[in-house]
């Protein structure tokens, strides 16, 4: 194909009007070529813009498809003839140009108009004249892209027709230019399915996608000239388009669109393809979500998500379907799922995917991996598998903290830091913290707990702190474990905790005893030292014996007869006048078996508002149900308080009854 | 040798004796040869001479035929004829001998010798010959019932000689383009007329006193007419045939009412005005002061609301032809817009019928319409032309006008093949074509100018 061929195209044409003193519109003359008379009649009627008000008007449309695809230009003009009824005749000149030629040079509608308009019809001999095509050039459009154009182009992507109102005074050229600019914002290939007109009749049933008109129609989007409308919420594709093109420079976008000459339409797959094109232009990979297919197994969906993460497939789509499949309610962990997740490294960070897409996925993956309850071990595992807790994963985990155990929460809190940590801490009760500290294997966690407990004590929140700490031996083993090389540190920390629990002053006898007798088996030399250091009473030896040794030996389980004998051996001398301090523990009377340490019922760890509220309630002291953790048992299940639940339920029922009654009564008052 | 007077007297005597049967042969023995004149009287009694070709002496004397025989043969005539021999070249070598030979051959011939110009002499002699017939002027006489007859008015009696004059009063009516023929006929006792001479002159109509002057037998000149003779090649039979049977009574007064349609394309209107101009001018030329002209311009009715509906404009009523022609110039360029398919001819006819005075005897009225569009019907009509708002009926108006005595109707139509009823009615089925109007015929059909059938080739005998 020579250059000259490319720069020109043969025009098929038809002249539609009325025979002199005829009655109906018909094709008067047409060219002799691919299209016959009936074809031209069809083109004219299919894209008829209705009864015109003012003339001339221009309508651009298309004809045929595939290899024979053509773009058509129809110019409606006045004529001086009149029909048999004496009415003015409107003459239409219809030109059809092969699409391939136009696409090769990305010829604009305005250029097509300028080339075709001077061709007078009919052409003698029914010949097909040749018009010259200008070189591709997007620069004229650059300055014309404004909000109205962008909105219009976006609205067209919803597939519904768009009408521009309020532009009645605009001359024909400007209207045509506007249509042209809007079309330039869309891939050139949609012109094979696109139709636009500089004017359509508001009352006509027409099929033109974009036109100027006087009144808006219900079935079309309306754009007011000069006041771009908002894109409706449900027009997701349109919104997506809008956002995507904002990343482009005008000229860049126009070039990109002009290069897309493959035939495409306005159906959703075509439009998603368009969005992909736009994303590809900026190096992004994702595609918008599709509806999930029902009945797919979670594993399969996981695999799909994994694929999507790897770059093949639609992540949003897959995420949505996974969400649907799992319905958001975490079930028990399926090791198979975990296999997939870990095997495909689904939690690992992905560079090309924005956090906002990863997060929802992670929120789905984590419960799948961890089950209903997220434990610290799992978090650590996840951390290991993901190669670190990157931000989206952290965010996802944080959002899932309701399902996480305390230590995991603390862990996350520490990772996230700042206010989040405070929030987390505030949400955890003393006993829980103590328990966490006792169990944790991270020094930072223990330290954090220590700090928190100290803060609580100093800020006056330490009412129950003592009890909690008692049961945890004031974290002595924790410190012993982590600070084993530095007993003085242990002692100092323990002292802090003791002070936090019992106040600034020196310890009283009962306090000292209490401190030691909570968990005598956990008492460490550091704790002994700290207690004794803080105890300034004369009978430190007695404290030791009573507070520490005796419970220790008593709980050691040394035998039924051995025990009491040993205890009797170290019984204190006859008591001096009773110390004024009230004893919280029942006095041990020699000879009698020591009161058993009251068995704790299975502890329910606190977390959250309810326990804090309860702590604040008057008369809140150590409650029997509040206790330390059992020996490294499985983390307790989080449960709502029964009472609260019942209250809420009751309230709801009342409201429902009231509403029901109101609705029942209301009609009787409403009717006149 | 004779004197010229002798010759003259002999010739005069010989000429006087000329009859239709008897010829006179004058042989002139001239220098170059023998010249012969053959004199006869024609049917009208006018002596006429005809010369034969010269016979040179050589041929006569030296030819194959013996001279005497040749000479004798030369002077032979078909019928009886006198012979007059004149030797006009006495000194010639052959003349005397030829003269003798001829005298011997024809002893009854008169022989003279004189040196003169014989031709001139003969002409004079002939011219001086008195008339042997009565010379009359051919005129036309109108009987009481209007029929025309040929009549004669005496000009010169028998024996009149050259130079006599006779006055005669004639009245000339309109003649055709060749003019009026003043014919002189000779009549003998038997009252048989023979044309002597005739002159055709384009004489405007009117009364004249003409003086006929006799210039010799067969020569009469008319003086006192404001025209010169023109050649006329019509035969007598044609002239007689051109005499109409009847002469209508003279037009004492004529009224031409001209209605011109001023709607449609301006060029069309201009052409109509031009035709009207021609018609009026022609009529004025024929009738002069007796003509009165009325001019109406008409257009279509206006059916728009609040539009003034005055389709007929009377520009001139019973004015002079000059005023009418001026008014026609004023009309140039005017046009009446309105209903595009008809013009208010019915209102014109109604108006004219109403305005015309009762007819006078001898006065002629002509109504001429110049236009193209049909008239508005008086009521709803299948042609879908809207009816006249005043409900004028053109058919009734035409009837009124046609029944009026002395009234003629005529029409000039843009395209006669598309002429509608009213035009056909006005023009008896054949309206004149705007592009090619025969103005004279039109004028005649309107009664404004005599038709060709009413042109008189001869003058009327005026009252003496």
């Amino acid at each position: 194909m020579t250059r000259d061929d490319a720069a020109s195209a043969a025009v098929q044409w038809a002249l539609i009007g009325k025979e002199p003193h005829g009655w109906g519109y018909e094709v008067l003359e047409c060219s002799d070529g691919l299209f016959q008379r009936e074809d031209f009649a069809e083109m004219n009627q299919r894209y008829s813009p209705g009864t015109p008000e003012e003339l001339p008007q221009v309508t651009v449309a298309r004809a045929a498809s595939g290899e024979n695809a053509h773009l058509t230009l129809a110019i409606e003009e006045e004529s001086t003839t009149r029909d048999a009824g004496g009415r003015d005749v409107v003459v239409t000149r219809l030109y059809a140009v092969p699409y391939a030629r136009l696409a090769a040079r990305a010829v604009s509608y305005e250029a097509l108009y300028r080339a075709c308009a001077p061709l007078a019809l009919p052409v003698p001999g029914r010949a097909t004249p040749v018009i010259g095509l200008p070189a591709p050039d997007v620069s004229p459009f650059v300055g014309r892209i404004d909000d109205t154009v962008v909105q219009t182009a976006a609205l067209l992507l919803t597939g519904a027709p768009v009408q521009i109102v309020g532009a009645g005074g605009l001359p024909l050229d400007e209207r045509l230019r506007f249509l042209d600019t809007v079309a330039a914002m869309l891939p050139y290939g949609i012109r094979t399915k696109f139709s636009a007109s500089t004017w359509t009749s508001s009352t006509a049933q027409h099929q033109i996608r974009l036109s100027f008109t006087r009144h808006p129609r219900d079935s079309a989007h309306t754009v007011e000239w000069g006041r771009p409308a908002a894109i409706p919420q449900q027009a997701e594709l349109a919104r997506a388009y809008r956002q995507l093109i904002s990343q482009y420079h005008d000229a860049e976008l126009l070039e990109l669109m002009a290069a897309e000459t493959a035939e495409r339409g306005f159906r959703p797959p075509d439009l998603r393809d368009l969005l992909a094109v736009l994303r590809r232009g900026k190096g992004q990979l994702q595609l918008p979500a599709a509806l999930p297919a029902p009945g797919t197994s979670t594993a399969a969906l996981l695999l799909e998500c994994a694929d999507a993460l790897d770059g093949t497939g639609d992540l949003e789509d897959a995420t949505a379907r996974l969400a649907q499949a799992t319905s958001g309610v975490p079930g028990d962990a399926d090791p198979h799922h975990w296999e997939i997740i870990s095997g495909r490294r689904m939690l690992a960070p992905r560079a090309g995917i924005p956090a906002k897409r990863l997060r929802p996925l992670y929120k789905l993956l984590v419960p799948l991996a961890c089950g209903r309850h997220i434990r610290i071990g799992q978090v650590k595992t996840i951390e290991a598998v993901a190669g670190g807790l990157h931000q989206p994963l952290l965010d996802a985990l944080y959002e899932l903290r309701a399902q996480a155990e305390a230590e995991a929460q603390l862990y996350l809190g520490q990772r996230i830091g700042g206010g989040v940590l405070r929030n987390v801490l505030n949400g955890l009760g003393d006993a829980v913290l103590v328990e966490v500290a006792l169990r944790t294997e991270d020094w930072t966690t223990a330290d954090t707990v220590h700090q928190a407990l100290v803060r609580r004590g100093s800020s006056g929140q330490g009412a129950e702190l003592a009890g909690a700490l008692r049961r945890g031996a004031f974290l002595a083993p924790v410190f012993a474990r982590f600070l084993d090389t530095s007993p003085p540190d242990q002692r100092s920390r323990l002292a802090e905790l003791l002070r936090a629990a019992y106040g600034k002053g020196p310890l009283g006898r009962s306090e000292a005893e209490e401190a030691l007798s909570g968990r005598p088996d956990l008492v460490t030399p550091a704790l002994l030292g700290a207690v004794l250091a803080l105890y300034d009473g004369p009978d430190a030896r007695d404290v030791l014996v009573d507070g520490y040794l005796t419970p220790l030996l008593a709980n050691a389980g040394l035998g039924e007869d051995t025990g009491p004998r040993i205890l009797a051996r170290i019984a204190p001398p006859p008591p001096a006048p009773a110390p004024p301090e009230p004893a919280t523990m029942p006095q041990w009377v020699p000879g009698t078996p020591p009161p058993p340490v009251p068995q704790k019922p299975p502890p329910r760890p606190r977390g959250g508002i309810v326990s804090r509220a309860r702590r604040r309630l008057p008369g809140g002291g150590p409650r029997p149900d509040e206790g330390g953790a059992q020996q490294n048992g499985p983390p307790p299940e989080p449960r709502f308080s029964d009472t609260a639940g019942i209250l809420i339920l009751f309230g709801v029922i009342v409201i429902v009854i009231v509403v029901y009654l109101v609705l029942l009564v209301l009609p009787q008052f409403a009717s006149p | 040798m004779s004197e010229p007077d002798e010759v003259r007297k002999a010739a005069a005597g010989a000429v006087a004796d000329l009859t239709e049967r008897n010829a006179l042969l004058v042989a002139d023995l001239a220098a170059e040869g023998l010249v012969l004149w053959d004199l006869r009287r024609d049917a009208a009694g006018t002596p006429r001479g005809r010369s034969r070709p010269v016979l040179p002496w050589d041929e006569l004397l030296n030819g194959p035929v013996p001279p005497a025989r040749a000479l004798e043969r030369a002077v032979q005539t078909d019928g009886p004829a006198r012979l007059l021999l004149v030797n006009t070249f006495p000194d010639g070598p052959h003349n005397a001998s030829a003269l003798d030979a001829l005298r011997r051959a024809r002893p009854d011939a008169t022989a003279l010798t004189c040196d003169l110009r014989l031709g001139d002499l003969l002409a004079e002699v002939i011219a001086d010959t008195p008339l042997n017939r009565w010379y009359d002027l051919v005129t036309l006489q109108r009987n009481d019932d209007g029929r025309l007859e040929l009549a004669c008015r005496l000009l010169f009696p028998t024996g009149a000689r050259r130079g006599e004059k006779a006055p005669v009063a004639v009245e000339c009516e309109a003649a055709d383009e060749r003019g009026t023929v003043f014919a002189v006929v000779a009549s003998a006792q038997e009252r048989r007329y023979t044309l002597v001479t005739r002159r055709t002159m384009r004489v405007p109509p009117g009364r004249y006193t003409v003086t006929a002057e006799l210039g010799g037998p067969g020569r009469v000149r008319f003086r006192g007419l404001p025209a010169e003779p023109v050649p006329d090649d019509r035969t007598w039979a044609e002239l007689i045939g051109a005499i109409p049977a009847r002469l209508p009574p003279p037009v004492t007064a004529a009224h031409l009412v001209c209605a011109i349609e001023v709607s449609g394309p301006p060029e069309r209107v201009a052409e109509r005005l031009a035709r009207a101009d021609q018609t009026i001018a022609h009529a004025a030329a024929e009738l002069r002061d007796r003509l009165r002209v009325s001019l109406l311009a008409y257009g279509p009715h206006a059916f728009e609301r609040r539009a003034v509906d005055a389709p007929v404009e009377i520009r001139l009523w019973a004015g002079t032809a000059d005023e009418a022609l001026d008014e026609l110039e004023n009309l140039a360029g005017t046009t009446h817009p309105g209903y595009p398919h008809a013009a208010a001819l019915e209102c014109v006819l109604a108006e004219v019928a109403a305005r015309l005075d009762p007819p006078e005897p001898g006065a002629r009225t002509a109504v001429l319409a110049v236009g193209g569009r049909p008239a508005f019907p008086p009521r709803v009509h299948p042609s879908e032309i809207l009816p006249c708002p005043v409900r004028h009926d053109w058919a009734a108006a035409v009837d009124v006008l046609a029944d009026r005595p002395g009234t003629a109707l005529g029409a000039i139509h843009d395209r006669p093949e598309y002429a509608s009823d009213v035009w056909l009615r006005l023009s008896d089925g054949a309206p004149a074509d705007l592009a090619a109007v025969d103005v004279q015929r039109l004028g005649a059909s309107l009664g404004l100018a005599p038709a060709a059938a009413q042109r008189l080739p001869f003058p009327l005998a005026g009252s003496p």
Partner: protein, 338 residues
């Protein structure tokens, strides 16, 4: 006690309580130039002249605009509306005067106005001729619209029939397709279409039509009419239609009458003799003048452009639409009651 306000002779006029008046789809049917758009344009003027409280109102912006424009072209500019291109759709309401309701003790309601909603389809005439329409899609759309409609205003133009004689061409093709489409519908009972058909013989103001009617002695004059217009009684309208069919140029118009009788139920067909512009009334006389009643005025010598000469007095323009609207409303209520 006052007589009840229930007007029994107009059964379709009661509105459905509570629900908005549903719109009845009515399609105009006729060859190009037969006067479909002019008929609609004359509606407002016709209602105005009746002075019985009926008026026509647009249901949405474009329809109101169209109503104004069409009425103005006839009444103010005195011209026929421009030839329709494509298919126009107008949604109008015919609103009647409020009727007095029977007052009951229990409830007292303000008199409600009667509304008949019309969803009018005005296609360009060329679409009705299968040969020339060319585009199966536009044709198919037309058939779809006709299938959805239940009322048809069929315009028969006698003048055009005199000259061209092609009324049948613009009828049988579309009608056959319509019947084919509705074949399986339960409403296609007895082999006939369920539509209500108002056959309107148009251009009664033309000389040839009136004279034909007069020759047939079908013309009477209504003494109650202040204008004294000639009219053809409804019973005679069918007779006039039949006779006009017989004088067509090609002779095919007879088939028009027979075709209509074949495809539509006789009780659902009514004949009207209409004229969108009516007869000319001289303002000075103020009544019909049988010597001069043409209401069209040619504009220029060479072209066939015409203007309307005087004021517009439509004849039988409201009656077909009102009859269709009421019949359709009654039909719908009957169906919903079942």
């Amino acid at each position: 006690m006052q007589p009840t306000g229930r007007v029994k002779e107009n059964p379709g006029m009661e509105p459905e309580r509570g629900a908005p008046p549903a719109e009845h789809n009515i399609a105009m049917w006729g060859p190009p130039g037969s006067g479909k758009t002019t008929f609609l344009a004359a509606l407002t003027i016709a209602m105005n002249r009746r002075q019985d409280g009926w008026k026509v109102v647009g249901a949405n912006g474009p329809s109101t605009d169209a109503l104004i424009k069409l009425t103005a072209s006839l009444a103010t500019q005195r011209r026929f509306p421009a030839a329709t291109r494509g298919t126009e759709r107008y949604r109008w309401y015919l609103i009647g005067a409020a009727r007095e309701r029977r007052r009951s003790l229990l409830r007292r309601r303000a008199p409600e106005d009667v509304r008949i909603g019309l969803d009018l389809l005005d296609p360009s005439g060329e679409l009705f001729n299968q040969e020339h329409s060319g585009y199966a899609g536009a044709h198919g759309e037309l058939i779809d619209n006709l299938v959805n409609s239940r009322g048809i205003v069929f315009l028969f133009d006698p003048v055009r029939e005199f000259e061209d004689g092609d009324a049948f061409d613009y009828l049988h093709g579309v009608l056959s397709q319509l019947a084919h489409r509705m074949l399986d519908s339960p409403e296609f009972a007895g082999g006939r279409l369920p539509h209500y058909l108002a056959v309107c013989v148009t251009k009664f103001d033309e000389i040839r039509v009136l004279e034909t009617a007069e020759k047939l002695r079908l013309v009477t004059s209504d003494v109650a009419d202040p204008l004294g217009f000639p009219k053809v009684e409804p019973e005679d309208a069918q007779e006039l239609f039949r006779t006009l069919c017989e004088v067509s140029a090609t002779g095919n118009a007879e088939m028009v009458h027979n075709t209509l009788a074949q495809y539509f139920r006789p009780e659902r067909v009514r004949y009207f003799v209409t004229s969108a512009i009516g007869f000319y009334v001289d303002p000075l006389i103020g009544a019909y003048d049988r010597d001069d009643y043409q209401n069209l005025l040619p504009e220029a010598e060479s072209s066939r452009a015409v203007r309307i000469r005087g004021t517009v007095h439509p004849i039988n323009v409201v009656e077909p639409l009102l009859w269709l609207g009421q019949s359709l409303a009654a039909d719908r209520r009957g169906r919903s009651a079942r």
